[in-house]
């Protein structure tokens, strides 16, 4: 039973009943309803409580500007969304809505007692009220404020909604489908010469038409609704226009980008659109301003346009006895007609000179107190008060890019220019009011935009003069008419409960700039972004400060112009879809070997290979010991590999690497370091000479993209005259290192077509050939400190290589090992790792590699490597640490201090540890550390202090290489 529904009329489907819940009770509405219209149809007008004073609030508007009627919604699947405006929610079957800001419920709200202490909650109260006594802040005030503050309720569960993101390009993007938007679209598609012009039209409502849906006016001598039908039918025939309803364009960004959110079907799913347009035509209409008078916030007080909207579009009767307080005569007439057509009694119309001084009613408006010019008062019984203080263009998308809107005092609105950059405005969005004018203006502006897209000069298309901004006809509203004095709170911003007194106070306390007043009073903040409050706030600021309104300006407009959920912006890029996960060519074979994987950067990398029920620690220990005693194999495919060719290839490398590369011969390779321009170590790797004028360099996994980018920058921009060609071959080669005393025997067992004996294939060499028929490049380099060969084969042969290594290695006890064992082995050997020792602060000398730096040439970073700060005493230098007692575990991430540490004590740190591990090979704990003057302090005893684990372990300083310092093992 919908008590307040008209028997006929409206754009609703009376045959399709929708059942929905509001605060736990069931109601019925029709397809085509918004939640707000369905609530009004069921005679529900108390929808929510206000944020600060918990005053009862109803429905003020019929669109995105709604400041009052905030609800939490859950759809029939239980997907929950807070902070929605009842006016923007499309009614769906099974929708469950709840009032916000009330406890235990909206009719009996405990928080409403706050109205009694409103003096304490004035502007900036949160900066003042809770200052004393100081200790109470944490213990009392914060807890109270947290309970009372905020809007809506956060859902803590997983977000079940589905989001996606799409891109589109078009020539002309029209926003809004009212008379101006449809007029523009018709004009844009009409001439056959425009067939190549691609057009998109976005409408935030789920039905196209804008004000033609609810305003009883005529366009082209036919009823607006009929004109709309014809326009849409005609546009549907055109292949070059795409109309998207339910799509909110919320922001404009640089170079013609507009972002929009499309609500799909059942309203839970949404698509985030990024649209690039050559021209943007705003046909976004205007928003009506309310009047400001004492207690102007009761349910039953409604914008005049919203009243017409509910009657004509939804066939809902928003009241029985109406009082009109409308500044514009035309609009008063339209409202009059609407009320009469719905059978609503018009009890009075506010006459010029009459002011509203009070309103009455507990949870709904019951009477309005009015005084006339001579000060005589009367009380008018009514349950609907239709208000209007004029209109303000919705030009947010234009203003977001920095275009200034001019405040027009005669109409009391912020007017945008006809064009700023690529954005054109039309219709009500640039101050027109009559539907016919808006439609014509849309048409002309579309022609203008298309001429610009085609880069034609338009023969001065005449734009209709901006006659008025809706409210201005014979009786212009003067500023004093917007504000009516009297006792009781007169709200300027209904959503944030900001009164005229608050604004006065803010100005008197010195916050007289609009940006300051906004932040001090919260005017214009919140989910409505001040759509109904800003113009009135500017008027009030003008009155208080005595400044010209044009000098006052407006606050900065920023996207989104209406709330957009974070999930919609994130799109589908969540969880494992956040970033691509790369697998190496060995991945499937490793998975068959029961490998445990871990992510490392972009990569899913083999971590360890447990046997049976081994723990991670047991597996790592076994893998390390196998490499030290027999042979293991590890995936090295993630290293960056760059192929460099050309007559100047060596010169190029000489300028990039700090090493001396002069003596490099074909078939040999060097460990090499690369510095940044400021002399700090950037990356390490190998440089191999594969042929005359042909080199292959490897980079660390972490820096493979950065080194590739840097080399390209140098080759393309800095030294374009060098004859050098770069090719990234990182993904083309699968790389498996075999390491351990038996590595050479294993390599021989793989049937190489080259000699692997030590004298013919020494350490630091490269061989190209085949292994049992598989093309390969084999590099004799070692990260583990053992005899080792990095076997590279074309990525497609990864599996074949791995299987042959496993088969051929059976007799040697081949042991696949992962990232954990790799790290233990490199720490034992004192090899460097990006992020640990190569940390963006160290130089080669700091890491004990000063002797690799050539002094006979200039290279990237050679100049700034000489700067005094990098030569100073006291720099952190790489050392190795062992516990003095030979058995204590050195805590990870410890600091190096001269004494033990007690909780609460402050100690100077002389260095920090970069890696610590319990060495399976040595049988005790070892660590690498960066220590002040470390290279001169070998033998010194210090303390490794970890405030985190509350441990202090005495350590002795020594060399950073713990295994085979003279390198005999790597040479086999």
């Amino acid at each position: 039973m919908q008590k307040r529904r008209l028997a006929s009329g409206g754009i609703i489907d009376r045959d399709e009943k929708l059942y929905f819940g509001f605060n736990g009770r069931q109601y019925e509405g029709y397809a085509g309803d918004s939640l707000a219209s369905a609530l009004l149809a069921n005679d529900l007008s108390l929808i929510a409580r206000s944020i600060r004073y918990h005053r009862p609030r109803g429905i003020l508007s019929a669109g995105l500007e709604e400041p009052n009627a905030l609800v939490n919604c859950a759809d029939q699947h239980g997907v929950f969304v807070p902070n929605l405006k009842a006016t923007e929610v499309k009614l769906t079957q099974g929708l469950e809505a709840r009032s916000q800001n009330c406890w235990p419920d909206v009719t009996l709200d405990i928080g409403a007692l706050l109205q009694r202490v409103s003096a304490l909650l004035s502007a900036g109260f949160y900066y003042k009220t809770f200052m004393w006594p100081q200790q109470w802040w944490h213990r009392v005030y914060e807890k109270l404020i947290r309970r009372a503050a905020g809007q809506g309720r956060v859902s803590t569960g997983t977000d079940l909604k589905r989001y996606d993101r799409r891109n589109a390009h078009c020539d002309l993007l029209i926003i809004g489908s009212g008379p101006a938007g449809l007029g523009a679209a018709l004009a844009a598609v009409a001439p056959a010469t425009n067939a190549e012009i691609s057009i998109m039209l976005l409408e935030q409502d789920h039905v196209a038409g804008g004000s033609t849906l609810w305003e009883r006016c005529e366009i082209d001598a036919m009823p607006a609704r009929q004109w709309r039908e014809q326009a849409l039918a005609s546009l549907a025939q055109k292949p070059n226009i795409r109309i998207m309803c339910g799509t909110l364009a919320f922001g404009q960004y640089d170079h013609g980008q507009v972002r929009a959110i499309q609500r799909v079907a059942a309203s839970v799913d949404s698509i985030s659109w990024q649209i690039r347009a050559k021209r943007l035509l705003l046909a976004t209409g205007a928003t009506e301003n309310p009047l400001v008078f004492p207690t102007n916030d009761r349910p039953g007080i409604m914008l005049a346009s919203a009243v017409r909207h509910y009657i004509h579009r939804y066939a809902v009767v928003p009241g029985r006895r109406a009082l009109l307080a409308i500044t514009d005569a035309d609009e008063a007439g339209l409202t009059h007609e609407a009320l009469e057509s719905a059978g609503i009694e018009i009890v009075a119309t506010l006459q010029p000179g009459e002011h509203i001084v009070a309103t009455y009613g507990l949870q709904h408006l019951s009477a309005v107190g009015v005084i006339n010019k001579s000060g005589q008062g009367r009380r008018i019984r009514c349950d609907l008060l239709c208000v209007s203080a004029g209109w303000n263009p919705n030009a947010q998308l234009l203003a977001q890019l920095g275009a200034q809107l001019d405040f027009e005092p005669s109409t009391g609105s912020l007017l945008p220019p006809a064009q700023a950059g690529i954005t054109l405005t039309s219709g009500a969005c640039r101050g027109l009011s009559a539907m016919q004018d808006c439609m014509l203006d849309g048409r002309l502006q579309a022609q203008q935009a298309i001429a610009q897209i085609k880069q034609q000069t338009v023969a001065d298309i005449e734009l209709p003069e901006i006659v008025r901004c809706a409210s201005v006809t014979s009786s212009k509203p003067v500023l004093s008419d917007v504000f009516h004095d009297g006792r009781g709170q007169a709200f300027v911003d209904l959503q944030n409960d900001v009164t005229r007194a608050d604004l006065e106070q803010a100005v008197s306390e010195g916050y007289d700039h609009v940006e300051l007043a906004k932040r001090y009073t919260t005017t214009g903040m919140g989910t409505d972004q001040g759509k109904t409050s800003w113009v009135n706030a500017i008027r009030e600021m003008t009155r208080i400060t005595g400044q010209e309104s044009s000098m006052l300006g407006h606050t900065t407009f920023r996207p989104p112009c209406s709330p957009v959920s974070i999930g919609a912006l994130v799109g589908a890029d969540v969880n494992r879809h956040m970033a691509p996960l790369r697998q190496t060519p060995f991945h499937r074979d490793f998975a068959d070997s029961a490998c445990v994987f871990q992510t490392s950067g972009d990569w899913l990398y083999s971590r360890y290979f447990p046997l049976a029920d081994e723990s991670m620690e047991q597996a790592i220990r076994r893998e390390v010991l196998a490499v030290r005693s027999t042979v293991g194999c590890v995936d090295m495919s993630t290293l960056g590999k760059i192929d460099i060719k050309g007559g100047d290839a060596l010169e190029f490398l000489t300028r990039i690497y700090c090493n001396n590369l002069d003596g490099l011969e074909q078939g040999r390779l060097r460990y090499a370091l690369m510095l940044r321009e400021d002399g700090i170590l950037f990356d390490d790797g190998t440089v191999s000479q594969l042929g005359p004028q042909h080199y292959l360099v490897t980079t660390t996994t972490a820096n493979s993209a950065a080194v590739w980018r840097s080399m390209n920058k140098l080759a393309q921009l800095r030294w374009p005259s060098l004859d050098v060609q770069l090719t990234s071959v990182s993904d083309h080669w699968a790389s498996l290192a075999i390491a351990g005393p038996k590595a050479r025997a294993l390599l021989a067992a793989l049937n190489p077509d080259f000699d692997v004996e030590r004298e013919h294939f020494p350490y630091a060499s490269v061989r190209q050939g085949s292994l049992g028929g598989i093309d390969c490049r084999v590099f004799s380099v070692s990260f583990s400190g053992e005899l080792s060969y990095e076997i590279n084969v074309p990525a497609g042969f990864a599996s074949a290589l791995y299987q042959r290594v496993l088969e051929g290695g059976v007799e040697f006890g081949i042991t696949p090992y992962g990232l954990e064992a790799l790290d233990v082995l490199r720490i034992e050997k004192g090899h460097l790792s990006v992020g640990s020792e190569i940390d963006g602060r160290t130089t080669p000398a700091d890491l004990g590699l000063g002797k690799l730096v050539s002094t006979r040439k200039a290279f990237i970073g050679s100049s700034l490597l000489q700067r005094p700060a990098l030569q100073q005493a006291g720099r952190l230098q790489l050392v190795g640490l062992t516990a003095t007692d030979g058995q204590s575990q050195i805590p990870p991430a410890a600091h190096i201090c001269e004494q033990t540490w007690q909780p609460g004590q402050s100690l100077r740190s002389q260095g920090k540890m970069s890696a610590a591990v319990s060495s399976p090979t040595l049988g005790y704990s070892i660590a690498l550390a960066l220590l002040e003057n470390g290279q001169q302090r070998w033998g010194e005893k210090l303390w490794a202090v970890s405030p985190l684990t509350r441990q202090s372990v005495e350590v002795v300083v020594g060399a950073s290489c713990f295994i085979d310092p003279d390198g005999s093992r790597v040479r086999g």
Partner: protein, 85 residues
């Protein structure tokens, strides 16, 4: 989001590019530390045009030098002389 003119691919979305920093007047490699310090660390921050590098990493991998207005984001063309580093 910017629309960046790539000489090979035309106007492409900023998300395809890596920013390559200001186009600096690099000294020769063996210039003094003072000269390098000045080039690398002392920058102006003009309200207006700056020259900068962009890397079309998700496209043709071309490094380009562009002139961009810091207050309007408008790109302007460089002469062929200017675009040589």
């Amino acid at each position: 989001m910017l629309l960046i003119p790539c000489p090979n691919c035309g106007e492409r979305d900023e998300s395809e590019f890596d920013y390559g920093g200001r186009a600096l007047a690099y000294p020769v490699l063996d210039a003094s530390p003072g000269q390098w310090h000045e080039a690398l660390h002392l920058r102006t921050n003009p309200l207006g045009d700056i020259d900068e590098y962009w890397y079309h990493s998700s496209g043709c991998e071309c490094w380009i030098r562009l002139r961009r207005n810091l207050s309007t984001h408008k790109f302007s063309r460089l002469t062929s002389d200017e675009s040589n580093t």
